[in-house]
Symmetry: C2
């Protein structure tokens, strides 16, 4: 679903990572309108939900319906998060284009988040790959996100060699790609550069293309700049910066899609997104979730006088 | 006042650029306590005020007293803004270590801000240099800040050649240094890189060492990262991100000192600042200006578990 006319792919994760920490249930029709509006603004990849049990995250209970709906939006890459094989099977059944599994490099965080050891996670990865291989439909892209790669709120700093070793094992197991996730918003640009270069060196240049960064300590855009400077081509972000990770205490705030698109377009990096249309989508989100605070600076300040993307 | 034990000099501009847009007058004793506390946290340069008429900015009416007081703080570089020769003379009389004059590259903004044409500004620069030469005290460092270098809220985009031409003329006139100021928070990292390289090429590598960035559109830290990556060594910022430019409509928000120090120290760049002590200074600011909103993410999120600067 990559388009050669753009330089950087913005993967909108608001409908998943944003909504999962918001208690007020957003109606399915409002979510569909959100997906439509972002796609119409030029966003080409959206993580529409997560196949977790509805009893754990009632907000995301309509994920299968959203995947099927999003597939009707022309040109949109429909991504979805899965915590395990059961979720991956649901994603295959619904026809997601991209399936992402979070794998916490911190084993304590892994246990807390999905109640599995690292060995159990590797086993699950192998089962998911087998399920994808056995599936009759078009083959989805299978990415494993290296959660807590920049630090953990339970274990603290994570040795870089550990991140790289897990990435290597995952690539050897046959995942299409790994992603670096700053789950706790602890990361810094120097660390990001070291991790990306080491993973490229050990796993191959094509096995890591994207990062999922949080803005917990205000470092989101600086880390995103380091990522695009290196040549990474996919950055996750969330409209209005909503969301965070419920299993990482104190972690909140995705990168704000609007501010990220402003940075990239101002730098001359094409995202394919019409920033004014994108900013207008905030109104839709605010109308559906009036008590949810929307973050971001560009929407409030407006575009600079004479700004041309 | 540069210290070889640090990599990046943080120039705290809160007492000037922060306070100048805040109506509630901060008592002089509270300002002194602020200067003391930041210096004790390791901040080595503070812009303590501006020598503008008290009728225009009553908040900064105590600048002379603050310069004299700050000079008693061991190791602190005492910087001050001046709008003209009269201000520069006051700065010399008070004994400032560093005198900064803002020169708006946008002539419309220049007229609006200090009611002078570019030619009148160049004449004023020559008079200030003559006054410094004629002064009997220790010679202060004289920097001219290129305001609106990244874009103007009246004129829109500013041609880069115009920024470079004015920088060249100022250096030829004898200023010690020029600085790049993103007065309207319109700048992006690619533009910053182009501007810095061109000014270095035309004016000499030692004539531009610092940037004054605003966070109006959330780009502050990304631009600061681009600056330090290039090798710039001084970044202006404001505790709690207070302030902005009163003559640029919609412009608000300096870079947050706390978030900047977190980024740099996490990257292994030494600022000489104890970040926990720095964050504690927010309480002093909040107590003195209870109705002023303090910005920044690091102070709210706390430092990452196991973080070592």
């Amino acid at each position: 679903m990559k388009n050669t006319e753009i330089d950087i792919e913005i993967s909108e994760v608001g409908p998943r990572d944003g909504l999962q920490s918001i208690a007020d249930i957003m109606p399915t029709e409002a979510k569909k309108a959100w997906l439509r509006a972002e796609a119409a603004a030029g966003v080409r990849e959206i993580e529409v939900g997560s196949f977790v049990p509805a009893s754990i995250l009632p907000q995301l209970a309509d994920t299968a319906e959203l995947v099927r709906y999003a597939r009707t939006i022309d040109g949109l890459c429909v991504a979805v998060l899965v915590p395990n094989l059961r979720g991956a099977q649901a994603a295959l059944d619904a026809g997601a284009h991209k399936i992402s599994l979070p794998f916490s490099v911190s084993e304590s965080h892994c246990q807390k988040n999905v109640n599995r050891s690292h060995q159990q996670m590797f086993n699950e990865v192998e089962r998911i790959i087998a399920a994808i291989d056995a599936s009759s439909g078009p083959r989805p892209h299978f990415e494993v996100g290296l959660s807590t790669a920049f630090g953990c709120s339970i274990e603290g700093p994570i040795p870089e060699a550990k991140v790289v070793a897990i990435a290597e094992k995952l690539v050897a197991a046959g995942v299409d790609e790994v992603g670096l996730s700053d789950t706790t918003g602890s990361g810094n640009p120097a660390q990001l550069r070291r991790l990306v270069k080491q993973i490229w060196q050990h796993c191959g240049r094509d096995k890591l293309n994207g990062v999922h960064l949080h803005n917990t300590r205000g470092q989101g855009l600086a880390n995103a700049l380091a990522a695009v400077d290196l040549g990474l081509t996919t950055i996750d972000s969330s409209l209005g910066g909503i969301g965070g990770c419920p299993a990482a205490p104190g972690a909140s705030g995705n990168i704000v899609t609007e501010d990220l698109v402003f940075m990239l377009e101002a730098m001359g990096l094409r995202t394919g997104i019409d920033i004014e249309k994108l900013i207008a989508v905030r109104e839709l989100l605010h109308a559906a979730l009036p008590s949810t605070e929307l973050y971001g600076f560009t929407a409030n300040a407006g575009l600079p006088l004479g700004f041309k993307a």
